[in-house]
Subunit: 314 residues, 2 copies
């Protein structure tokens, strides 16, 4: 299919999780934004179609975008723009980490950090698609009810307890998989929690960010505790470490995964959770909301709408 | 099931591949040996049954062994002792590396080093069970015909060519999986050959061994080029590194895999390749035969039989 351009009638974006919030920064200056949703207003027979657009090179936090048709996906009936915004990056990342890397199978166990975040909610739902998987999830206590409803069997209050000890109380041998967006000392802790043939999936360095902004001390701590491993240590431990970066993933594979996710949505097997909706002008407040760990699910940005906070109803 | 002992009427062992030959040594003194095969001569209704015995703690290069029933598997009809000896460790290791770790799927590609060795032969056959997998395999030229018959699409003469360049001539983006028993500089080279979301599976350090015995210079070179990676490098490369050590694997999982392999054998989907048979007294010569890279397939040790070299018929 040839390249074509889209005049965006409605652009909906999300505050996504791989740029500043998780500490893996892009080189600036950039226009961030990995996905948007549009109603097509030009271009013949596509007029009126709602589409998801995904561009892993970024540049979509803007009101007008140009893209190629192979970065777009028709939104299924019944899917809202907000759900569509919540589904692409988070679910695609969670899907690849769980199925491409960790190869989750029946009767296995997984520890999901930030289980109330966008990726955490998605990962939990995707793990539930496999039979008899035991899910441990960390979150602050106010979010435990929500993550439990979402499928986490054992919510852990990481703010007051040692999550590794809590996991071992239930599963003395540890877990098969750890999804880790934290970085620093938590990487080693996660590696230590793995059973034999277990996989640690690293996808961020959130410990570098202490609200409301990046802290040099936190960054130095993460650097000091940087996870580092050599071939013999890996062989002798009989474990795996996987590094995940959606932006470095083959676009054809991303497209395949998004189509799979749209199918799962249509079958009612996954259901994105939207935390709150903010206007482009409020992007700073939206980021702060996330960095202060206040969100449960995805934070959405839209060009014109004023804030509606799903958690407060305001 | 309770523990019981076996009086070995026939013990068949293999020169296995994870102790000295691949440079990952056990602490001595030890009795090596991970598997044996027996005809039961005592113990009621089991008398006459042929069994595979597998003990990942070693100790089976001996004429008399004591084991527990859950380390034993009934040999299927038509399987010879030699095939049984060749099937357990090699195929179990290859199976776990390919299916538990690398998660091989249709249309993917893999580079198998030492494709004519015991694990290499097993890995090639197990890869062929998945639809449309492209297999690259390294071996010296005299072995190319055999590995091609076994399923390697692109045999590479690593003795005169740069295997990474050869792979890229066929597959410019590289491969999805590298099975690497080599260590040292080859680990980094394998990592560099991976596509995005690719997996490097490390399971030895054969480069430390230059025939006929371990060389300090070779060991120093391996140490100098030791593969070492940190969290951010892994995330930014969007790749995984898996360390495999059968001896550190959960025994229940090993048992599950061996049962699966016996089924595959019965279905005619895998067929062990025996290189040669040696007596216990000839263990030194058998090891030398392997370290000089002369074998194609598995080298078998038996307690009493004199050497019969499958390649020469002597």
């Amino acid at each position: 299919m040839s390249a074509w351009s889209v005049l965006a009638a409605t652009v909906v974006e999300t505050v996504h999780s791989l740029i500043l919030p998780h500490g893996v920064s892009e080189e600036g200056p950039v226009v961030p934004g990995w996905r948007s949703l549009e109603i097509i207003t030009k271009f013949g027979h596509w007029v009126g179609d709602k589409i998801i657009m995904m561009n892993i090179d970024g540049g979509l936090w803007t009101e007008l975008v140009v893209t190629t048709v192979n970065c777009t996906y028709l939104m299924p009936d019944g899917m809202s723009f907000q759900e569509a915004a919540a589904i692409s990056v988070n679910y695609a990342a969670a899907y690849m980490m769980i199925y491409d890397y960790a190869n989750l199978r029946p009767n296995q166990s997984i520890l999901i950090h930030m289980a109330a975040g966008g990726v955490g909610i998605a990962a939990t739902q995707l793990c539930k698609l496999v039979h008899d998987v035991t899910i441990f999830g960390t979150a602050s206590p106010s979010k435990h009810e929500t993550i439990k409803e979402n499928g986490v069997a054992y919510p852990i209050d990481y703010t007051t307890l040692d999550y590794a000890e809590e996991v071992r109380k239930i599963s003395p041998k540890g877990v098969d998989i750890v999804l880790d967006p934290l970085g620093g000392a938590d990487d080693s802790k996660g590696f230590g929690l793995l059973k034999s043939l277990g996989k640690l999936v690293l996808y961020g360095s959130a410990n570098q960010v202490t609200a409301p902004k990046r802290s040099s001390l936190a960054a130095a701590k993460v650097w000091w505790h940087k996870f580092n491993i050599d071939a013999l240590q890996l062989i002798n431990s009989n474990k795996a470490v996987c590094g995940f970066h959606l932006g470095r993933t083959d676009p054809d594979h991303v497209a395949e995964v998004i189509r799979k996710l749209i199918s799962l949505y249509k079958e009612g097997k996954i259901k994105p959770k939207v935390d709150s909706v903010w206007s482009f002008e409020q992007v700073g407040d939206a980021m702060k909301h996330m960095q202060e760990h206040k969100n449960i699910g995805k934070i959405i940005l839209v060009p014109e709408v004023k804030t509606t906070d799903a958690t407060t109803g305001n």
